[in-house]
Amino acid sequence: MQETTFLDANELVINMGPQHPATHGVLRVKLKLDGERVLGTECIIGYLHRGVEKIAENRTYAQFAPYVDRMDYVAAVTNGMGYVEAVEKLLGVEIPPRAQYTRMILAELQRIASHLLWLGTHALDIGAMTPVFYTFREREEVLKIFEEYCGARLTTHAFRIGGLQYDLYDGFERDVKKFCDYFPPKVDEYEQLLTKNRIWIDRTRKIGVITAEDAIALGVTGPVLRGSGVKWDIRKAQPYEAYDKVEFDVPVGEHGDTYDRYVVRMAEMRQSIRIIRQCVERIAPGPIFGKVGKVLKPPAGEVYHSIEAPKGELGYYVVSDGTVNPYRVRVRPPSLINLQALDIMSRDHLVADIVAIIGTLDIVLGEVDR
């Protein structure tokens, strides 16, 4: 990276955000510019800080569960899933298969919804206006299923510690199967608009490149890591729920650029459909709750549990002192850690690329700041 500016002119410092259409919330990026070339970036976060981890210490285990939905609010189901699983691990509860498959179906639907939101806004940032309307149309179908299941669309609080609050409604399988048939042609439609679009390729190839080594060193996870060619997916590496019983591929990229990450996420949506189809086939009548007491009092100890959230590794570190309140809950948010790659990725790029790179990192500020 060059340190001096062209003709030794003064560098221009621009505050991108916290109110800016392309920073996906309240991220503030201090850009040092030489003309349009970026000399350096500095992220300033915390505009959406709510002290979620501290709140946990004053709530019971069950009371805290809705709070985690509000971190990554576009993927509330997976957030909740990570937390309840961590507490279940602490309690040593086994949950019945029906609950497991339901969780997987909803989690994969959530992954699709989250990726759809990413695709729409990412394309909008790069200037393609139309995909966002198409992706929201399909996301709506997912949200309808959520709404039918638990009454909420966004912050669902779909799962409880030990199983599910609600059994599946009549026609759940039918709705999900219908979505599985309806959705893949729509992905083809998005790909028709973008994948071979010359401008799209020009705008994303070789933009925001991060090597596998850099990505691993920074702790980057999820599609961003897989875009760099590292085949790392918690669902395969440390299977939770029943992910070891279903078949799916882990798509990886080659160059670690924005285009590869786009391809990876598009493929992931298709894989999610594949997982959902298998889960719907296997879901059988049975109990939906494991053996948990009325009062959740895990034995003193600690647990770290992570899942593959749509954005990467979402980990919960829960410490129990044997009372009804957690002693400490620490969240490992994928968005915050993926955001650390912004500086490496944006070196020697132009302002327009910064927008593309923020989009490709797929961050949600609720989760970055917590």
């Binding site: 221009l12 621009i14 800016h20 259409p21 392309a22 003309g35 349009e36 394309a123 909008l124 940032d125 790069i126 200037g127 393609a128 206006m129 139309t130 309307f133 198409y134 149309r137 608009l193 973008l194 679009n197 401008i199 799209w200 020009d202 705008r203 132009l350 302002v351 327009a352 690329d353 910064i354 927008v355």
Partner: protein
């Protein structure tokens, strides 16, 4: 009395021109307002939504509401701005956009003026429009507008050259800069210049999109990067002026393309008399519009709206009957075909916006300099050489014919 007044007007060129200017300005302002409506509707239909629906039936009064809203808004001048330039800049943009229409022939006999440097005049004036953007961005004294303004100046330099050179190809064929002459030469040659100059046409269309700051070249106002680009600090009526200038420019470049490449006011294949029935197209168009409106009305659930659609459909049928009179039919032929072609162009502009992502600034420049300008130059040279031999050939034949006599 009335005849006297008519004769007086016809005999006073200044008054006649003034009246024409008033007509063109008034009609154009309306067209530009409804162009915004059309853009919103077409985009909406391409994007699986409805677009404006609330103000008036099918949102037909939306442009009026938007205009009123913008007029009534506070006109904010930022504290650090260069006040005079800040106030002046939007006016420059609009002025440049509208002035161009002075030399555009909407029909064989309907134009404000026909000057012998028409095309040169258009290029000169429309280049002035960019000053509005640069000065506006500069005078705002703010970072994003400044970047937007710099982008637009770079864009102009790259694309004005390529677009201008593409037009020279047409000039070589027409041998005249007068817009009326250019159309008449196409009529005489029996072929539109788009068939003789396809490369120039493509280059001009691309350059035109870039010059009007439209997607995929809408860098100066890329909202996801520069919030709103050069007009970030503008509000109220001054913002409306920029908005109007952009859409007027779309009409301008479409008019130029139609005049130079698509035979202006000529109907398609004007030299083929077998296609003479095409002159009834205006009647069909109005009747089609009436049917479409009736169809819309049937879908409407509000009684008042249904009445409105009935009235509108009746008006269209009335117009169809009116233009069925041979005299009127012949009189509106030119304007009808000209507007139809311009409309196709405008639709394409909106279509691009729904389809393409945005180019990056340096990519835009490299396309301009590495692809468009060399291509335009090559086209120019090939045209010039062919034209020279063609002229020489004709001269030789002429000499031979004369010699024989």
């Amino acid at each position: 009395m009335l005849e006297n007044a008519f004769e007086f007007v016809m005999a006073t060129p200044l008054l006649l021109a003034l009246i024409k200017i008033l007509i063109i300005f008034g009609v154009l302002s309306g067209i530009v307002a409804y162009l915004v409506y059309m853009e919103r509707k077409v985009l909406a239909f391409m994007q699986a939504r409805l677009g404006p629906m609330r103000v008036g039936p099918w949102g037909l009064l939306q442009p009026v509401a938007d205009g009123l809203k913008l007029l009534l808004k506070e006109d904010i001048i930022p504290a650090g701005a260069d006040e005079w330039l800040f106030l002046l800049a939007p006016a420059i943009s609009v002025f440049a956009a509208f002035t161009v229409f002075a030399v555009i022939p909407f029909a064989g006999n309907f134009y404000v003026t026909d000057i012998n440097i028409g095309l040169l005049f258009i290029l000169a004036i429309s280049s002035l429009g960019i000053y509005g953007i640069i000065l506006g961005g500069w005078a705002s004294n703010s970072h994003y507008p400044l970047l937007g303004a710099l982008r637009s100046s770079a864009q102009l330099v790259s694309y004005e050259v390529a677009g201008g050179m593409a037009l020279v190809g047409v000039l070589l064929l027409s041998g005249s800069l007068s817009m009326v002459d250019i159309v008449e030469r196409q009529s005489g040659a029996g072929v539109w210049y788009v068939f003789l100059q396809p490369v120039a046409f493509l280059i001009y269309v691309i350059a035109a999109v870039a010059e009007t700051n439209r997607n995929p070249f809408d860098l100066p106002e890329a909202e996801s990067e520069l919030t709103a680009g050069f007009h970030t600090e503008y509000s109220g009526f001054r913002f409306a002026l920029y908005f109007m200038a952009e859409y007027t420019n779309m009409v301008v470049v479409s008019c130029i393309a139609v005049t130079l490449f698509l035979g202006g006011w000529l109907r398609p294949f004007a030299s083929v008399s077998a296609l003479d029935f095409l002159k009834f197209a205006p009647i069909v168009a109005f009747l089609g519009a009436a049917i479409f409106i009736v169809w819309l009305g049937l879908k409407s659930l509000v009684t008042l709206e249904r009445y409105f659609f009935v009235v509108l459909a009746a008006a269209c049928v009335g117009l169809a009957v009116l233009v069925a009179y041979p005299a009127i039919l012949n009189a509106i032929q030119g304007v009808f075909w000209f507007s139809a072609k311009v409309l196709v162009f405008l639709y394409a502009f909106i279509w691009y916006r729904a389809t393409f992502p945005r180019y990056r600034y340096d990519q835009l420049m490299s396309i301009g300099w590495r692809v468009m300008i060399p291509l335009a130059l090559a086209n120019l040279i090939v045209t010039a050489v062919l034209r020279y031999f063609w002229l020489a050939h004709h001269a030789a034949t002429a000499v031979a014919v004369l010699g024989r006599q």
